[in-house]
Symmetry: C2
Subunit: 414 residues, 2 copies
DNA sequence: CTCCATTTTTTCGAGCCTCAAAAAAATTCT
DNA sequence: AGAATTTTTTTGAGGCTCGAAAAAATGGAG
């Protein structure tokens, strides 16, 4: 059972709340913070005095060009960019991207690099990651000691503790404890996150109006991934990063999936599956290793131009996604969906069949009210999510430390 | 964003924690409570003195026949049965069951009644419920004023606020706000819960070792229902009671389901579906209204005896359940499963195909490690879950009241 | 230019709450 | 009967938040 609340926890939690309020609002005044947190002015005053004294917050002009109102002007409270820094490492197919971000969220150093992830050895892959991180840490603009956290993201399955990649489509290697490796190498706390989960975190940060308590981010790429936020919390499985939406069974015994099983949603909606159907290769054909974005765009163009196997391939993708979403909606009730990735740019080809399929399912009662957003470029989203993830960690675990600082990723606050 | 923690919340939460610890442990000593809650002895002493003064707890002998150890003997703290009472109302197919339960969890009055729910008018159905509740409240053994909460459970879909039944297979009526009706009639706070969710609550209460943080309760009855506990919390959809496992799509365009759609899991695994397949009526045949338990048991007996359509019907049920569970496990990772209801008694016929199907899915990697329990009788479970639900409400909202007493069901603490 | 109205922020005292340590209570063992 | 042991209560200290009042900082009116 959950443990009692100690007296000291109170201050810790309220500190964290104030920091979170500032991060969200930008440059709120003390009065605004009091309003959003529900705490009294005196408490906010005391806590913010502490935080300023510790160099975590800094005073400045308020966000609104005030001076219109009478009375003592508000003093804006902002995050002190120099309070700390975090690092994001995004590993995707043939690509490695690293950035250092200050406490206020600005990128202060970055590097990107092409790799051949599918053929690299385990050691080479790890080596590249360690090397690129080291180069960034040696950047003269960066104070190494200020880097408080590293967040990695990778396509594939990670464990719930956010320590290791268990399996990924971008490499034949399995079970690499990237978080432990980087921690050991640089002595900086690190976590290993699932890319789709980071997309969800970023969407929530970008548009809290639309993506608040319940929503779904679906990555339409070579494979199909999902990030799910339920009741305001990032949903992960109990053991792994979970949400293996792409491997829900669409048709028992159906098309061959990259995972070796049959009939998964991905085996109809992943890039390789659309490609396979468009080229009429048959559902038992071994999935190709990669289809370039340009090839996919060409496929979509053809499908738009004329009826034929290309158009049919997208229809099948839509159907699979629709039934999958429908089954998901049977479990969690419908929620806004963001489609991310190359094939999101071909969503016009996918949507009709998708909606029709959803309408055949339990979730389909409100089929018309379900709304879709599209975002063709996943990488920036993933990086942004990683940054927020790492910064939130610093906010909570370093600047509002409690007795029970957990080893793992802490709470799944999206 | 969540609101700051007030100073008064502290006491409230710790009071609730102490009550919960006593409810769980039976008759713990103050020292034991201190150990399980993590609070200091002095705090426990202060809080329990308050609670005894208010008549919520009462001193007595400790649960263990102690006197073996040296030193001052422990004083057991138990719930005072007279502190309050709650009422459970379980509405199932052709059956209505009501009980009054004291604060310590003992049944002190009950009544059961056969109805013809499928043909009753809306008014008659509501009237029966109101009448049976009134009769129990007029029982001379019951002090009406002590009844602090009514929990209803029904098969079907309820809303997230636990106010209304939205749809149920046991009646053609829809959208009956039972909770509001009973509240208005008797002035006692009421909630309307989903039966499978109550099963899950009860399982957790009965066997916290096995059913702790993550598990699944599946009702194998005329229809297929599910109660899901994830990370220690009852999982409900965002709008409805959610978990419409029975209406996940097993085969797109497949067998006709009672819900009017095609290919749902229930259309292969519900009693009517097993019946339909056993009688070789064809998948488009309109589902029958009811199959008696005796008929189902006869079917199972035949299936055990010889190969034939009966055995094949159970195989198909297993397959559908297996693929459904597999898809679920793709999302949430595998967890222990309890099979409840008549067909749980025929689980031997279902299990082989079920396991084979799971092995074909993403969740199937750990197929062998997934364990199933069976419990053929759902009604006692549902009643027990309702009772715990209502008692927990009294513990939290009445005996540890806070500023923000929410209107709805409060937190989903299973 | 001065003074008042207005709004934000800080200060101060009160009231709770939890905690650690010590004291008191209630037994068993010798 | 006294020592040892364990549970429970008491006591005092330290923290935290809150409301009210004071202080600060500005715009507007005369």
């Amino acid at each position: 059972m959950s443990v009692g609340i100690r007296h000291d926890d109170l201050r810790r939690r309220n500190r964290a709340m104030v920091i979170a309020a500032v991060r969200r609002a930008g440059r709120p005044s003390r009065t605004e913070i009091a309003a959003t947190t529900g705490l009294s002015h005196s408490t906010i005053s005391a806590i913010s005095a502490d935080l300023i004294g510790e160099g975590i917050l800094a005073e400045g002009k308020p966000s609104e060009a005030g001076s219109l109102k009478r009375g003592r002007p508000q003093v804006g409270l902002g995050l002190n960019p120099e309070a700390a820094a975090v690092m994001t490492v995004v590993l995707s197919l043939n690509f490695l991207s690293v950035a250092v971000i200050d406490y206020a969220g600005q990128v202060i150093s970055e590097e990107q690099r092409r790799l051949d992830t599918l053929t690299m050895s385990r050691e080479a892959l790890i080596g590249e990651c360690v090397a690129i991180v080291r180069r960034r840490l040696e950047d003269p603009d960066i104070d190494v000691r200020s880097v408080a956290r590293i967040a990695l993201a990778i396509q594939g399955i990670t464990d719930t503790d956010a320590r290791a990649m268990l399996w990924s489509p971008i490499t034949p290697q399995t079970d690499i404890a990237f978080a432990d490796i980087l921690e050991a190498e640089f002595g900086i706390p690190a976590t290993m996150e699932n890319d789709c989960n980071m997309m969800a975190v970023a969407l929530r940060w970008r548009d809290p109006e639309r993506y608040r308590d319940d929503f779904i981010a679906i990555l339409l790429s070579h494979g199909i991934g999902m990030g799910l936020v339920l009741k305001g919390e990032l949903f992960t499985g109990t053991h792994s990063s979970g949400g293996e939406f792409g491997h829900m069974i669409h048709r028992p015994g159906g098309a061959l999936c990259r995972c070796g099983r049959r009939g998964c949603v991905e085996a109809y909606a992943g890039n390789y599956a659309i490609w396979r159907n468009a080229k009429q290769l048959g559902e038992d054909t071994e999935p190709v290793a990669d289809v370039s974005d340009a090839q996919m765009r060409a496929l979509a163009a053809t499908a738009r131009e004329r009826a034929g196997p290309e158009r049919e391939a997208y229809r099948k993708a839509g159907e699979a996604l629709g039934y999958g979403l429908g089954s998901l909606f049977a479990l969690i009730d419908p929620a806004p969906v963001a489609m991310v990735g190359v094939s999101a740019a071909a969503f016009d080809l996918i949507e009709p069949a998708l909606r029709e399929a959803i309408a055949q399912t339990a979730g389909g009662q409100h089929s018309k009210s379900i709304s879709f957003d599209t975002e063709p470029n996943e990488l920036p989203l993933i990086r942004e999510g990683c940054a927020m993830r790492a910064l939130t960690f610093v906010d909570q675990e370093i600047f509002a430390p409690g007795v029970q600082a957990k080893a793992g990723a802490g709470k799944n606050v999206a």
